[in-house]
C-alpha cells in the first residue's frame, strides 16, 4: 500500500512531496482531535479526505459554510423548490434576483446573457431585483425594463412584505422612506402574473429564516402560477463536496468521525469554531480549488495542500497539489448542468492530486506510527 501510493508521487520528484508527506503523516497521525477543512477539491479528493478522517477520527468541514448551514438546512427543515440554470434560462419569463449576491452571480456566470430561445411560446423575459442594494445586472437579457423593490431594505423584510401581500393580508403602515404599499402590490402582481418565475438567491445573503421565507413565498405563488428557485452555486466546489459527504456518510458537511461513526453537526464540527475554541490539535487544509488558508488556522499545527500561487504562511507542512480541470483531470459538480461531470486537464502538469497526496499520507500512517 505504501509503495503503491507513493509511486503515484515518485514519478514527480520535482514536487518534493515525498518527505513532506512523511512529515504530514507524523503531524496528523500524532493528533487526537484533528480537523480537515477547506476541502476545495474534486470528488476523488473529498472521498479521500473522508477516508482519512475515518482513520484519524477527524472532523470534516467545507469552506462554503452558507451553503451547508442555510441552504441545506432549509432543504431539511421545510423542503425547497428548485430548478436548473438551463430550465431557468429557457423557460422563465420572470427572473427575480433576490439580494446583491444573485445580481453578482448572474453577471459573473452570464447564464442569462441571452434570452434563451428554446421555446417560442415563452413571452418576453422580465427581470426583477429584490433588496439588491441598488445593484442591477449588466449581463442579463431582458425584454422589459428591470423592475426593483426594496433597495434600502433587508431581503428578509422585502420577502415578508411580498408574502403578506401575495396572501392578501394587511401590513402595518410603512415608513415614508420605504416603498409605498402600491409598489409592493405591483411587484406581488408582477410575480403572480409570471407564467414561470425563477427566484435566484445567494445563500451568503440570507440565513435559514430568510431562505425559509423565500421558499414559503414560492410555495404561496405556486397556488396560482408556477414559480421556483435557483441557488447561487456554493464556491470552491461546495455543492459537490456536500453531496459526496451525503452519499458517503449519510449527512452533509460538517461531519465528525471521532467516535468511529459519522456524526453530522453544524455547530460541534464547524472547523473554524473547533480550531478557535482550542478543541482541535491539528488541521489539514485542502485548497486545491481554494480558498486560501484562513487567519484562524494560525493557532493550530497545520498541513496545507494548496495550488500553485497560493500562500499558507502559518502552515507547518505545505504540499503543492494540482488543480482538477487544469493540471489534471477530475470529476467536479457542473453548476450549469446541475450534475457531476468529468473534466480534462487544460494544461497538464506533473503535480499530484489531492487524492494521491492523501493516499500517501494514509499509507504513511499505516506503515508508520499513527
Amino acid at each position: 500500500m505504501r509503495g503503491e501510493a507513493l509511486s503515484v508521487l515518485s514519478g514527480h520528484p520535482e514536487t518534493g512531496a515525498d518527505p513532506a508527506i512523511g512529515r504530514a503523516a507524523a503531524l496528523l497521525g500524532g493528533a487526537r482531535r484533528p480537523v480537515i477543512a477547506g476541502l476545495g477539491c474534486d470528488v476523488d479528493g473529498v472521498r479521500a479526505a473522508l477516508r482519512l478522517a475515518a482513520a484519524l477520527g477527524a472532523s470534516v468541514d467545507h469552506a462554503a459554510r452558507a451553503h451547508g448551514r442555510s441552504e441545506l438546512r432549509v432543504l431539511a427543515d421545510s423542503g425547497v423548490m428548485t430548478t436548473t440554470v438551463a430550465e431557468a434560462r429557457h423557460r422563465s419569463d420572470l427572473i427575480v434576483l433576490a439580494g446583491p449576491g444573485a445580481v453578482a452571480w448572474a453577471d459573473h456566470a452570464k447564464a442569462f446573457a441571452d434570452a434563451g430561445g428554446l421555446y417560442s411560446w415563452r413571452g418576453e423575459r422580465g427581470v426583477l431585483c429584490l433588496a439588491t442594494g441598488g445593484a442591477r445586472p449588466a449581463h442579463v437579457a431582458t425584454g422589459t425594463p428591470v423592475a426593483a423593490l426594496g433597495d434600502g431594505m433587508s431581503l428578509h423584510r422585502v420577502l415578508s412584505l411580498l408574502r403578506a401581500r401575495v396572501g392578501q393580508k394587511p401590513v402595518a403602515p410603512l415608513p415614508g422612506n420605504g416603498p409605498a404599499l402600491a409598489a409592493i402590490d405591483a411587484v406581488a402582481l408582477q410575480m403572480k402574473s409570471a407564467a414561470f418565475g425563477v427566484m435566484i438567491v445567494d445563500a451568503n445573503d440570507a440565513d435559514h429564516v430568510t431562505l425559509d421565507a423565500l421558499q414559503a413565498l414560492v410555495k404561496d405563488l405556486n397556488k396560482e402560477t408556477r414559480f421556483t428557485t435557483l441557488g447561487v452555486p456554493a464556491h470552491h466546489h461546495g455543492r459537490g463536496a456536500h453531496l459526496v459527504s451525503a452519499w458517503t456518510t449519510g449527512g452533509h458537511l460538517p461531519v465528525g468521525l471521532g467516535r468511529g461513526y459519522p456524526e453530522q453537526d453544524d455547530w460541534v464540527h464547524d472547523a473554524e469554531r473547533r480550531v478557535t475554541a482550542g478543541e482541535a490539535d491539528a488541521l489539514l487544509w485542502i485548497g486545491a480549488l481554494g480558498p486560501d488558508l484562513p487567519a484562524w488556522a494560525a493557532g493550530v499545527p497545520t498541513v496545507a495542500l494548496i495550488h500553485h500561487g497560493a500562500t499558507a504562511n502559518t502552515a507547518d507542512v505545505v504540499i503543492e497539489v494540482g488543480v482538477p480541470g487544469v493540471t489534471h483531470g477530475g470529476v467536479l459538480m457542473d453548476a450549469v448542468r446541475d450534475g457531476f461531470a468529468a473534466v480534462d486537464a487544460k494544461a497538464p502538469q506533473p503535480l499530484p492530486s489531492v487524492a494521491a497526496v492523501i493516499a500517501g499520507i494514509e499509507a504513511a500512517l499505516i506503515g508508520g506510527n499513527p
Binding site: 403578506a164 402595518a172 410603512l174 414559503a216 467516535r259
Partner: protein
C-alpha cells in the same frame, strides 16, 4: 442517599457527550459501572472515571461541575434533578420530558431545551443561540415545559417553538420566535426580526427593536390573561412577573405567514 456528584479533574481536552448521565440510565449502576461509561467524543474513548471524581449514590440528584465543553447534559431527562455548577455546552436538556436542570453559569452552546416536552431548565447566566429553538431538520423546538434565563440569550430563541414558556430576564437576540407555531416567550427586550415567519404563539417584551411591518398594530388592551400570566411567572421566577405589562400594545402577525401570532409590547 447523597447526591451523585461528578467533579471534573481538569478542563476536558475535548467535547464530552453526557447524555448517559440521567436518572433513567444511571439507575441500577454501581460506582464502577458509572465510571466505565464512555463520554468522550474522540477516538480516545474517554470514560467518566478518566475525567471526573465521582461520589454519592443518588441518581435522582445529580451534581456536575460545569464546563462549556459538556454537551447533552440532561438529554431526554425523564425525572430527577441535575445541578450544574458552572457552564454548559450544546443541547442542554434536549428532548427532556420531566425533571429539573439548574445551571449556575452560562450555556455556551446552542439549542438548550430543544424539543423538550416537560420539566424545567433554569439558567442563572446567559445562554447562546437557539434556546428552545429547533435543530436543523427538526419540525419543532421547545414543545413544552419551562426555560428561564436570568441573563441574555442569542439569536433564534424559540425558532419553531411549539408549546411551553421561555422567560428571559435580559435581552433576546435576532429572530426570536422565528417560525414559531405556539408557546410563549417573555423577555425584557426582543431584538430585530422578532417573530419572523411565526404562525401562532405569543411574544411579550418591554421593548422590541425595529418590529417588522408584517406585524399589524391592533390597539392597546387590558388583557385578563396577562394578570394570570404575571402571577404564574412571579411564582416560577420571582421578580420576573414585572416583565408582563398591564396595558400593552398588541400586534398581530406574522402576516407573511399565517398571522395568528401576537407580539405584546408595553
Amino acid at each position: 442517599m447523597a447526591a451523585l456528584t461528578f467533579t471534573l479533574k481538569a478542563t476536558p481536552p475535548e467535547r464530552l457527550d453526557l447524555s448517559a448521565l440521567v436518572l433513567e440510565r444511571l439507575t441500577g449502576l454501581d460506582a464502577d459501572a458509572i465510571k466505565a461509561l464512555v463520554v468522550g467524543t474522540s477516538r480516545d474513548g474517554l470514560t467518566v472515571g478518566d475525567l471526573f471524581d465521582v461520589s454519592g449514590d443518588d441518581p435522582a440528584d445529580i451534581r456536575l461541575s460545569g464546563d462549556e465543553r459538556l454537551d447533552n447534559i440532561g438529554r431526554g431527562l425523564k425525572g430527577g434533578r441535575i445541578t450544574v455548577e458552572g457552564d454548559a455546552g450544546i443541547y442542554l436538556g434536549r428532548a427532556m420530558k420531566a425533571g429539573l436542570i439548574a445551571v449556575s453559569g452560562s450555556v455556551r452552546g446552542p439549542y438548550a431545551g430543544t424539543a423538550m416536552t416537560g420539566g424545567t431548565i433554569r439558567i442563572a447566566g446567559d445562554a447562546a443561540d437557539a434556546v428552545g429553538g429547533a435543530v436543523p431538520g427538526a419540525m419543532h423546538g421547545q414543545a413544552g415545559g419551562l426555560i428561564t434565563v436570568a441573563g441574555h440569550v442569542g439569536a433564534y430563541a424559540g425558532d419553531r417553538m411549539r408549546r411551553g414558556v421561555l422567560v428571559v430576564e435580559g435581552y433576546v437576540g435576532d429572530a426570536a420566535g422565528a417560525r414559531m407555531v405556539g408557546g410563549t416567550i417573555l423577555a425584557r427586550t426582543l431584538g430585530t426580526r422578532a417573530g419572523a415567519g411565526m404562525k401562532r404563539g405569543t411574544l411579550i417584551a418591554k421593548t422590541v427593536a425595529d418590529l417588522e411591518p408584517t406585524f399589524v398594530p391592533t390597539g392597546t388592551y387590558a388583557m385578563p390573561f396577562l394578570t394570570i400570566l404575571r402571577k404564574w411567572v412571579e411564582s416560577e421566577v420571582p421578580g420576573a412577573g414585572a416583565l408582563v405589562p398591564s396595558n400593552p400594545m398588541r400586534y398581530r402577525g406574522d402576516m407573511a405567514a399565517l398571522g395568528k401570532g401576537e407580539v405584546i409590547v408595553g
